[in-house]
């Protein structure tokens, strides 16, 4: 196999090789000589800009593409700088700037250069960010006047002039109503509020959350009930139709607030937990064919595709504050063949599997573990075992990519039949770090059409907020 440019290699080809560090000394000399030509210099800069903008801005628009005439389509493990890393870099830059500005501007200060109508700035967009009104994504660094952002998918980060930062998670609708306040009409968001932006306020369906310098997560569910989860610091929650003083929530507290009804419920675990190392196991079961074996107390059995499950129990039967959110799974396979109690060490006892599949395009599903301890390390394993060989006429391999977001631990590519089932191999990441909001996210990707990514079971080990056995949420 040749990997040297031919003698008549085009300058653009040499540039592509140069940027991939694939030119040896003689070729580099040729490239440098050609680069003396101003026209080639201009082309080189254009190529650099094309490459970067595709990575940063247009990557999501290429997601539907697939090779038309390719063979040997085994996509090996991806390098670390895949899409989430690009996002992480963008977030890191925004946060770096934000941190530097901490002491430089207070909520009361109006930046002198901004237009009078600007209340925030768009500081990041994930590559898959899409806006519901179909407009092109707003430009990074652009002023945002008061008004609504309707994010259909992906993530968008805005920084208010107060220096409060909000991460919007699509689909959601968020309205900026002032330099230090907004309204969450639907969906979910994270807020990072530095001391200077103390008093940052978010209103949501009759619920007002006033931040006193902290990080918190807000989610509006289908019933317009607002869920508040405080990661750090303190927030005050007031109900529009409620009586009495605001409810104060501290780090680790979680509550559900029904604004129109004027009622609320705090997670009883919140006040009665301690942080200790725990093991939590989840069986992702098929809802149509329940296992003949009763669920064991040491397992959490989930048979509803895609949703949020709170307060998972650990293997000792103690309730925890750990929540699990799954999305974009497309179906599940039957588990009627289960003939033995479920056993983490034996994937063949875990027949019945969720999958993400599309006949026409690559697919991706995800699971998110939240309410972990920010910055702490966790061991996370998943069983991804496809219990039968492929049906006749279909490809035999069931290869997919299993990838933790924003971690130094790498993606794992695994054939769910041969390795997952026949060899009984689990995928384990031994050193995943919970993000500043206390979350871990794992993506399951099926990069080829007519393939599936699978999920049978999950195990997470690490520090969690754990209650007593008698403390039922």
């Amino acid at each position: 196999m040749t990997d040297r440019p031919s003698h008549d290699a085009d300058f653009a080809e040499l540039a592509a090789r140069y940027l991939d560090d694939r030119l040896d000394a003689p070729d580099l000399a040729v490239f440098s000589e050609l680069m003396r030509d101003p026209a080639n210099q201009a082309l080189f800069i254009e190529i650099c800009m094309q490459s970067r903008l595709i990575n940063e801005t247009l990557g999501v628009e290429l997601e539907d593409e697939r090779p038309v005439h390719t063979k040997n389509q085994t996509i090996d493990r991806r390098p670390k700088y895949v899409l989430p890393a690009a996002l992480a870099a963008a977030v890191a830059l925004a946060l770096t700037l934000w941190l530097v500005l901490f002491g430089l501007q207070t909520a009361e200060d109006e930046p002198s250069h901004t237009s009078t109508s600007a209340v925030a700035m768009l500081t990041d967009l994930s590559p898959d960010a899409k806006f519901a009104d179909g407009r092109h994504p707003l430009q990074l660094g652009g002023d945002l006047p008061p008004g609504s952002i309707r994010l259909a998918a992906g993530r968008a980060q805005i920084m208010f002039t107060s220096s409060a930062v909000v991460d919007l998670v699509g689909p959601c609708e968020f309205e900026m109503t002032g330099a230090n306040q907004g309204v969450l009409h639907s969906g979910e968001m994270d807020a990072y509020v530095p001391r200077e932006a103390r008093g940052f306020t978010v209103v949501s369906h009759g619920v007002m959350v006033r931040d006193l310098g902290t990080r918190f997560h807000l989610r509006v569910d289908e019933s317009d009930v607002t869920r508040v989860n405080v990661v750090e610091g303190v927030v005050e929650v007031s109900l529009q139709h409620g009586q009495g003083r605001p409810i104060t929530l501290h780090a680790g507290d979680m509550g559900r607030f029904d604004g129109p009804a004027g009622t609320y419920a705090l997670d009883p675990l919140a006040a009665r937990t301690r942080i200790t190392t725990a093991t939590v196991r989840v069986d992702f079961a098929d809802p149509e064919t329940p296992s003949p074996h009763a669920a064991e107390a040491s397992w959490n059995v989930i048979d509803q595709l895609n949703g949020v499950i709170d307060n998972l129990a650990d293997t000792e039967g103690r309730p925890t504050t750990l929540s699990l959110s799954t999305s974009d799974f497309t179906g599940s396979r039957a588990n009627q063949q289960r003939d033995q109690p479920i056993d983490w060490a034996d994937p063949q006892s875990l027949i019945g599997v969720w999958y993400s599949f599309s006949k026409h395009r690559p697919t991706q599903a995800s699971l998110e573990l939240s309410n972990l301890i920010p910055g702490e390390r966790y061991e996370v394993s998943i069983v991804t075992a496809r219990s039968w060989p492929a049906e006749q006429g279909y490809p035999q391999a069931r290869q997919a990519i299993y990838r933790p977001d924003g971690q130094s631990d790498e993606a794992v590519t695994l054939d769910a039949y041969q390795q997952g089932w026949v060899q009984g191999r689990a995928v384990t990441w031994s050193d995943l770090v919970a993000d500043p909001m206390g979350r871990l996210t794992i993506q399951l990707q099926s990069p080829q059409v007519h393939r599936s990514a699978y999920l049978n079971a999950l195990q997470i080990i690490g520090p969690m907020r754990v209650g007593d056995r008698e403390t039922q949420p």
């Binding site: 080189f44 650099c48 094309q50 990557g59």
Partner: protein, 174 residues
Amino acid sequence: MAIEHNTIMRVLMRDRAKLFAYIWSIVRDVHLAEDVLQEVSLLALDKSATIDSEQALPAWLRTTARFRSLRTLENNHRLPAPLDDRLLDQLDEQWGKSDGDSPGDLIDALRHCVAKLTPRARWMLRLRYADGMSGVDVANASGIQPDSVYKSLGRIHRTLADCIRRYDRGVVHD
């Protein structure tokens, strides 16, 4: 007159892709480029008193980025840099021609032109730049020789450059 921090931040966010591309063109490693970009951003805020105006900021950022990039290569034992100083000077001049431009127009043009590529070309761009694969990994994933990948990428980049120029001139045929 010193430049305001908010102005620096605005320019950094606006020019982030361009500054990253500039750094990447020297260090040719995404991780190193990210590190240098962060360093340069912080330096700009730290040294704001020495920067005269918003107009002078892009050149200041580029000069600092060049210095930091070369130092990073040195720290990673990757010197001498593949492009000599004279060439980097000439390239700096070229990079400076678009200082102050909003990237929005280029993004619109690129979007238009990428949409006109063949599915296979778009797939290759996705693997190489959106997914961050090396040319060799793209070759493995596509079942072709690495040589063909670089030839194709060269052709694709030229096609895009031509298309963007036509788009900029308003000569667009759908």
